[in-house]
């Protein structure tokens, strides 16, 4: 027998391994999945409905819960389009041009990923707090940023900053700029080139980024918690509202709110899968 065949066969066997190893590994993976994903998922809905459907609806239609929903939606409605525009512009800039500070810009875009959300929140406190850099000026002009809605929006924008750019950039880089150059040579304006050539080619990347951005915008806890001030029904988003209810021993209410966020996550997953499926060049 040729020595290389031997090596091949041996490696094939070590890859598959004996049955108990294979099943052991699969079992461990399933168990892990069950413990870390399925059980908590089931638990959220079990706790949410432990006092019945009416209590569930009551918890979600309570004025403070509705206010939290409105604020969460407002933050997302501002953060997502903002980051969409920024993400598109930034990835287009980075993908199409060589310039000084290009890699610095890329690092900056990634910054919110590497900074702990709590630190992100504290940055805003240091900037806009009464004792912060801009605090005295804001106070004099009676503009409230932190402990008010703008602060929550700012924190949300910050933590969701990289999502669109990070998804669009690789797609744009992979596409190359040939077609855009052709469009320009044929006399199309820059804006038109962007709308009719660049954008359609990255649309799935954009959509994917928007979905992730939205999920994070609605689910963010840490950064928003720091700048919120926790004024019930005024500066509380859904995740913060869930925490408040939990702290008030209202487990059913807390989990009712949590179930809403869980549903959001599930919907996000489904849409994400759909986008992945549609974007495959079949």
């Amino acid at each position: 027998m040729h020595p290389s065949t031997l090596v091949l066969r041996r490696s094939a066997r070590s890859l598959s391994g004996p049955a108990f190893v294979r099943w052991g590994l699969i079992g461990a993976a399933v168990l892990l999945l069950g413990v870390f994903l399925i059980v908590p998922l089931v638990a959220v809905f079990t706790f949410a409905f432990q006092k019945g459907w009416e209590a569930y609806v009551a918890a979600l239609t309570h004025p403070t819960a509705l206010a939290a929903m409105r604020l969460t939606l407002l933050a997302a409605v501002i953060a997502v389009p903002f980051n969409l525009v920024f993400g598109l512009a930034a990835s287009w800039l980075i993908a199409r041009f060589q310039f000084r500070g290009r890699s610095l810009l890329m690092t900056l875009i990634d910054l919110p990923f590497s900074v702990s959300p709590v630190i992100a929140g504290l940055i805003f406190v240091l900037l806009f707090g009464r004792q912060g850099w801009l605090g005295p000026w804001l106070l004099d002009h009676d503009v409230r940023v932190i402990f008010a809605v703008p602060g929550i929006v700012l924190a949300t924008v910050f933590v969701t900053f990289p999502f669109v750019a990070r998804e669009v950039l690789p797609v744009m880089e992979a596409q190359g700029s040939d077609e855009e150059e052709a469009a320009l040579t044929l006399g199309a304006s820059g804006w038109r080139t962007f709308l009719t050539v660049t954008l359609p080619k990255v649309k799935w990347g954009v959509l994917y980024g928007v979905i992730l951005c939205n999920a994070r915008a609605m689910g963010e806890f840490g950064a928003v918690s720091v700048v919120s001030g926790h004024v019930r029904g005024v500066t509380t988003t859904l995740p913060l509202h869930a925490e408040i209810l939990y702290n008030e021993y209202d487990l059913a209410g807390a989990f009712a709110v949590a179930s809403l966020l869980t549903l959001l996550a599930l919907v996000t997953l489904v849409v994400k899968k759909f986008v992945e499926w549609r974007s495959q060049p079949s």
Binding site: P81, V85, R130, G135, A148, P150, G233, I244
Partner: protein, 348 residues
């Protein structure tokens, strides 16, 4: 390619402006068109239920006497953290915190109120008092009766972190004070006691509510050191028969203070209603509500009525065992203070 760079950025400007405006438009929202006045009460953790009822009662009272609608917003959290937020600009009209030190900080760090704030209202500006008691599991399986039982080797104690939680500072000072005042008590004995006590503490939550949920929901520990109000809330309203309150023979007199935040009420023009709100806490109705939520009323009439709700015990004051808050903070809780020296997080 340079032409692409000339892509009209100006097209985005209106959108960016719109977003900026949307972000700031609700920046000032105190005065509402229908004449409703809004107060923000920044409070600590275990007063959630108390102020929910008090706020509704005061709103009714204010509407009846002044004909003005008042809506009181609440913010709750660890006392120190809440004070920090007010210092950083959370526009509290009134603060109702766990300990005077946190209100002192509002003066020291941001001059939000005068230094003598505590003398402005009766009883050191504390309309209700409380104390520190024990919560044990049903049937008191470890037979915990007194402070000495907490330092037994077979007992684990749940208390939050005194560096971040106001309640935890009262817990700590109660433990310290009873050892200091006990038989043959001395500073050395007190230090040895708290050192042994914290050896029995497996986890330090950042706030009183967190510690309560650790004990009640996560099932950790044999005994929870808690505010009396929190202990009764847990045993009578939340945990029903799962927990019991054990009142030691001696504990600390805890005085959670309230104060109007001058700078904020003057800016918002809410001084009158904010002061009336705090005065209401001292009124018969206010005291009655406090008593119902297991805070000890100052009013003798109300106290007599609820005498059976509050177990008798000897309560020593902060001044008797640790001087004032500034000294207590410097000696015990500041970085490098006694607590830092005695508490080493367990490796296991």
């Amino acid at each position: 390619m340079e032409r692409l760079a000339l892509l009209r950025v100006r097209n985005w400007m209106p959108l960016a402006l719109l977003l900026a405006v949307a972000g700031c438009s609700r920046a000032s929202g105190d005065a509402s068109p229908d004449g409703t006045v809004t107060l923000l009460n920044v409070s600590y953790d275990p007063t959630r239920e108390l102020y929910e009822e008090l706020n509704a009662a005061f709103a009714k009272h204010w509407a009846a006497t002044r004909g003005q609608q008042v809506s009181i917003q609440q913010s709750h959290g660890g006392s120190g953290k809440q004070a920090r937020s007010v210092i950083e600009g959370l526009r509290a009209d009134v603060v109702t915190l766990a300990l005077a030190y946190d209100v002192d900080m509002l003066h020291e760090k941001a001059q939000l109120l005068p230094e003598d704030w505590q003398a402005r209202l009766p009883h050191n500006s504390a309309p209700y008092t409380s104390t520190i008691v024990f919560v044990v599991r049903e049937g008191n399986p470890k037979a915990i009766r007194e402070w000495d039982d907490l330092v037994r080797k077979d007992v684990t104690v749940i208390t939050p972190n005194p560096k971040t939680s106001g309640g935890a500072r009262w817990n700590y000072l109660a433990a310290w004070g009873q050892a200091l005042r006990g038989e043959g008590g001395s500073e050395a004995r007190a230090q040895a006691y708290v050192e042994k006590l914290f050896r029995n503490v497996p986890v330090l939550d950042s706030g009183a509510r967190g510690a309560t949920t650790t004990f009640a929901e996560r099932g950790l520990g044999d005994v929870l050191l808690a505010w009396e109000s929190e202990a009764f809330l847990l045993t009578r309203e939340v945990g029903q028969a799962r927990f019991e309150v054990v009142v030691p023979s001696v504990s600390i007199l805890a005085e959670p203070p309230v104060a109007v935040v001058d700078l904020n009420v003057d800016r918002k023009g809410t001084r009158a209603v904010a002061e009336a709100y705090l005065a209401y806490l001292y009124s018969e109705e206010g005291q009655e509500i406090a008593a119902r939520h297991h805070f000890r009323p100052r009013s003798e009439v109300v106290a007599a009525k609820h005498a059976s709700d509050f177990p008798g015990l000897m309560r020593f004051t902060l001044a008797e065992v640790a001087g004032d808050w500034r000294r207590a903070q410097a000696t015990h809780f500041a970085d490098g203070g006694l607590f830092d020296r005695i508490y080493a997080p367990r490796a296991d």
